[in-house]
Assembly symmetry: C2
Homo-oligomer: 190 residues x 2
């Protein structure tokens, strides 16, 4: 039990560091320093930074799946669930202003590194894409559900990138309102 | 004259490497290897990787200013100039599919590194933002010209991120068409 807790602790610390300062820029030592356990104990759990990255991505997948399930419970109608997705920009505003979107920035970095875990990181995007697609199908848009999902994913990515570059919280609010408008006028009323 | 050419050569090689494999992941040696000049000659021009980054950003600013001036000549009407901006995603499609947007990915990386040149890199975004704002003002939208500029910048950023993650060229074409539609129906006809 204690071993499992230590492992989770390492993965959480690495997740934060990869997000806040980048994967390449985070050393094995940075992570063990953050966790404050002995080198021996650390190595028992992970031998390389790549192993930690795999565990971080896997933990993010689990967390995202749980979040999507929660949104399904929170929103009885698919449009409300999609609004939960859009509003994630507001929920995580402070972190986004400082570090951008955790998914977008990781996949972008791993692509440039031609990293072996690149596809695993992209699967995080696929998780959101498939879930959004499902909601658009439920809204009667089965023909272009995937296009709508990709469109909304892209808009929310772009908002995160620009809000972070200009450190502009108001821009997030404005664009979230516009995405909700788009949902109403282009998807629901159409 | 020859010295100036060597300097330009170094900056060009560094620009490509920073874009393709990331700033942090590119070493001083990677750059000098790519340029194939002696260490002494290299150090004559640049002492640190940070110095090279400054020169790369400055070169990108010059290149962008020239491109924007060219678009002003190419498009007699502001809507045509804005379409030039939107179509940049198609012009640079192959590189975007592999490495994302050069501006967005650099600013994102430098933000995570808390790099001293972060503001200089963000100025590249500001250049596009101010130019787009000017075009929207010419289209009679002085009241929300800056919001429209930020909206379009964000959409094009998001398309680059998603197209790169899914290596999806068709998605770029689709979204470029939608941005042109948005320009027609939301900006021009409104």
């Amino acid at each position: 039990m204690k071993k499992q807790k230590t492992r989770e602790h390492i993965v959480e610390a690495a997740d934060q560091l990869f997000y806040q300062q980048g994967y390449e820029n985070t050393s094995f030592t940075d992570i063990s320093d953050a966790v404050q356990i002995s080198r021996g104990n650390f190595y028992y759990h992970f031998k390389t930074k790549d192993d930690i990255l795999e565990a971080v991505i896997s933990a993010r997948m689990d967390k995202t799946r749980k979040m999507l399930s929660q949104w399904e419970l929170d929103g009885s109608h698919p449009e409300n669930r999609i609004r939960c997705f859009v509003r994630i920009l507001i929920t995580n505003r402070d972190e986004i202003l400082n570090y951008g979107c955790p998914v977008g920035t990781l996949t972008t970095e791993l692509a440039k590194l031609k990293h072996a875990s690149r596809d695993e990181a992209n699967a995080l995007f696929t998780l959101f894409r498939d879930w959004l697609k499902e909601q658009f199908i439920l809204l009667g848009r089965s023909k272009d559900a995937d296009d709508l999902a990709m469109h909304l994913l892209a808009r929310s990515q772009g908002v995160a990138t620009l809000a972070s570059a200009f450190h502009d919280a108001k821009f997030i609010d404005q664009e979230v309102a516009q995405m909700c408008d788009w949902l109403n006028t282009y998807v629901i009323e159409k």
